[in-house]
C-alpha cells in the first residue's frame, strides 16, 4: 500500500496506525521468539509485560540468531525485521 507513495494513502496510514503499535509489535514478537525458541520457556504467563527483555539478553539473542536455525528462520523474526526495515528504511 505504501508502494508508489500516494500522499493520500500515506496520510491516512500515518493517522490510523500508531507508530507505538509498530514498536510494540517488534518488541513483543522478539520477546516471544526469544523466550519460546531460544530459552524454551513454556510461555504460560498471562501478559507480554511479564516477559522482560533487557540488554543482558542481547548476547543470548545474538547467539540464538547465529546458532539456532529455527530462531533465525522464524516467522516472528521475519516480522521484526520487516517492520524494522520499514521504520528505518
Amino acid at each position: 500500500m505504501t508502494e508508489g507513495f500516494h500522499p493520500e494513502i500515506i496520510n491516512y496510514q500515518t493517522t490510523n496506525f500508531e507508530l507505538n503499535m509498530i514498536f510494540s509489535i517488534i518488541v513483543n514478537s522478539l520477546k516471544q521468539l526469544y523466550y519460546c525458541v531460544a530459552k524454551n520457556d513454556p510461555f504460560e504467563k498471562k501478559c507480554m509485560a511479564d516477559y522482560p527483555l533487557r540488554m543482558a539478553d542481547f548476547d543470548g539473542l545474538q547467539l540464538a540468531f547465529q546458532r539456532n536455525n529455527t530462531f533465525s528462520n522464524h516467522t516472528l523474526l521475519i516480522i521484526c525485521l520487516r517492520l524494522f526495515a520499514y521504520i528505518y528504511g
Partner: protein, 476 residues
C-alpha cells in the same frame, strides 16, 4: 461350407486353402451386413470360430506333422500358405476387422522367434529352408487363428468403445510417435501438430467447425497437465508455453486457455465439480510456470466473450460458497478438508491471475462487479477478511498485551485463508497499482489494528504467518 471331395487329400491343398479364403470372405461380408439382415450373433460366432477358423487350425496341424519324405510334396504349397498368412493379417477390412483387433496386438515372443529363425537360415540350403519356411508359416497361421478364436466378434456398440479410432487410442499412438524425439527442430515442430491431424483432415473434408474439445481433453489428461506438482517444470509441454515469442506456442497456449475457459463456463453441477477443480488446478500450474503467456491468452479468451466475465463470476461464486462451508462447518472431517483444499485453490487462482504485475487483470477485478453484488472484487477481498475476523473474533475480546489461548470460537485452522486473502490484496495493490490502492485504503482499520496487536501462546501458529503477510500487504 461343403466340399465335394475330401479336402485333406495331398494334391488338393491349394483348392482347400482357396476355399477357406473364399469362406472367410463370405464371413466378412456377412458381418458387414449385420445391421441389414437377421443376424444371429451366437450362430455367427460358432460358425466363424469353430467351423472356418477351426478348419484352418486343423489343416495347419496336419501340415505340421510333416515327415522328411513328404517334404517334396508339400513345398509347392509355400506360396499359397504365404498368401493365406497375408490374407489373415492383411487389410483393414479383413478378418481382423470382425474382431476389432490390430495385428500388432497379436504379435507374441514366440512369433518373433519364428521370424528370427527364418531369417537366420542360409538361403542356399534350399531343402532346409523350405522345411523351416513351411513349419514357421504354419505355426504363425496356427497361432494367429488360435488367438483369434478366443475372441468374440465385435458388434457395433462395443466396437465404438475400444476401436483405435477413439481419441484416447489415437492420442496414445501419436504420443508414441512423439516419444521418439528427433534432433531436428523442424521434425519436432511437425510432430507437435500430430495431435490435430485428424481434426485438420475433418476440417478439410467438411469445411465445418472444428470439434477439438475431446481431442484436447484426452491430450491434457494424457500429459498430466491437470496436476499441480513441483515436477511441472520438467513437463516439456508446460515449460514450452513460456516461449512468448513463438507463435506456435502462443496458439497452443490460446487453445489451452480457450478449452479451460469453455469448460469452466459451463454449468457447475455437483457431478462435474471434481473435473472443474482439476482444470483450475491445471490452470494454476501453467500460470505458475508460464505466467505471462497464459495470462495474456486467458484475457484474450475472456474478452472475446464480451463485456461480462461469466467464468470469473462462476469461480467467485463457488469460492464464496466453499468459504462459507469451511468457515461454518463445526466438525473437521474429510469433507471439510476437501472443501478447504478447494477454497485455497480458488484463492490461489485469483492471486495468480494478477501475478507479475498484470495490470489488465487488476483492472478487470476492479471494474467488474458481480451480478448479485454491489461492490467490486478488490473491495470484496477486504470484506472477506472483515467477515472472517468478525466471525472468529480475531480482532476483539482481548486485553492489549495479553497472551491468548485458542478457543473453539477462534477457529485457528482458518488462518491460512486469511493469509491467502492478504496475498491477494497485496497482489492487487502492488506494482504499484494506485487505482486499487485507493479503493481499499480506508477500510477496516479497527480490524487490522486488533488483529496485529494480538498474541497467541503458540509461537508457531499460522496466525503469525498471516500477520507477516498483512505487513507485506501494507508496507510493500
Amino acid at each position: 461350407m461343403k466340399y465335394e471331395e475330401d479336402p485333406f487329400y495331398d494334391k488338393e491343398y491349394q483348392k482347400t486353402i482357396d476355399l477357406l479364403m473364399g469362406e472367410l470372405d463370405f464371413v466378412t461380408d456377412l458381418f458387414r451386413k449385420e445391421k441389414l439382415e437377421n443376424f444371429n450373433e451366437a450362430t455367427f460366432v460358432s460358425y466363424a470360430n469353430s467351423e472356418v477358423l477351426g478348419t484352418v487350425i486343423k489343416l495347419m496341424n496336419y501340415f505340421l506333422v510333416i515327415k522328411e519324405g513328404d517334404l517334396h510334396k508339400l513345398s509347392k504349397y509355400i506360396p499359397k500358405l504365404e498368401e493365406l498368412k497375408t490374407y489373415l493379417e492383411g487389410s483393414k477390412d479383413g478378418v481382423l476387422m470382425i474382431y476389432g483387433i490390430n495385428i500388432d496386438e497379436l504379435s507374441s515372443p514366440e512369433r518373433k522367434k519364428y521370424e528370427v529363425e527364418l531369417a537366420q537360415i542360409d538361403p542356399e540350403l534350399t531343402i532346409k529352408m523350405d522345411k523351416r519356411k513351411l513349419i514357421e508359416l504354419c505355426k504363425i497361421i496356427l497361432e494367429l487363428c488360435s488367438n483369434i478364436v478366443k475372441l468374440k466378434p465385435l458388434l457395433d456398440n462395443k466396437r465404438k468403445l475400444i476401436t483405435h479410432k477413439t481419441s484416447i487410442k489415437r492420442t496414445e499412438k501419436i504420443n508414441n510417435t512423439i516419444q521418439n524425439f528427433s534432433n531436428k527442430l523442424s521434425i519436432r515442430r511437425e510432430n507437435i501438430n500430430c495431435f490435430f491431424t485428424k481434426v485438420e483432415n475433418n476440417l478439410k473434408k467438411t469445411g465445418g467447425k472444428l470439434q477439438v474439445t475431446e481431442y484436447l481433453s484426452a491430450y491434457y489428461e494424457h500429459y498430466k497437465m491437470v496436476k499441480t506438482s513441483l515436477e511441472a517444470e520438467k513437463n516439456i509441454y508446460i515449460i514450452s508455453l513460456k516461449d512468448e515469442n513463438n507463435p506456435e506456442m502462443m496458439s497452443y497456449s490460446y487453445n489451452l486457455c480457450a478449452f479451460i475457459h469453455n469448460q469452466l463456463n459451463g454449468e457447475w453441477c455437483i457431478d462435474s465439480k471434481n473435473q472443474k477443480f482439476t482444470l483450475i488446478e491445471s490452470l494454476i500450474n501453467t500460470l505458475f510456470i508460464s505466467t505471462k503467456s497464459i495470462q495474456f491468452n486467458l484475457l484474450k479468451v475472456i474478452k472475446e466473450t464480451g463485456n461480462t466475465v461469466p467464468m470469473l463470476d462462476k469461480i467467485w461464486i463457488e469460492m464464496k460458497w466453499t468459504m462459507s462451508f469451511v468457515k461454518f462447518k463445526t466438525t473437521i472431517d474429510k469433507y471439510w478438508k476437501e472443501a478447504f483444499k478447494r477454497c485455497m485453490i480458488l484463492i490461489k487462482f485469483h492471486q495468480f491471475l494478477c501475478e507479475d504485475n498484470n495490470s489488465s487483470f487488476k483492472e478487470l477485478m476492479r471494474s467488474h462487479i458481480l451480478p448479485t453484488d454491489t461492490i467490486d472484487r478488490v473491495q470484496r477481498w477486504t470484506t472477506i477478511f472483515q467477515r472472517m475476523s468478525d466471525n472468529c473474533q480475531w480482532h476483539y475480546n482481548y486485553v492489549k498485551g495479553e497472551i491468548n489461548d485458542f478457543e473453539r470460537s477462534h477457529r485457528p485452522y482458518l488462518f491460512p485463508l486469511a493469509t491467502g486473502v492478504f496475498d491477494n490484496l497485496a497482489e492487487l495493490c502492488s506494482g504499484p497499482c494506485t487505482e486499487n490502492q485507493l479503493k481499499i485504503y480506508t477500510f477496516i482499520y479497527d480490524r487490522y489494528n486488533g488483529f496485529l496487536q494480538r498474541y497467541w501462546r503458540d509461537p508457531n501458529t499460522q496466525f503469525y504467518k498471516a500477520k507477516l503477510h498483512w505487513w507485506s500487504l501494507f508496507f510493500q
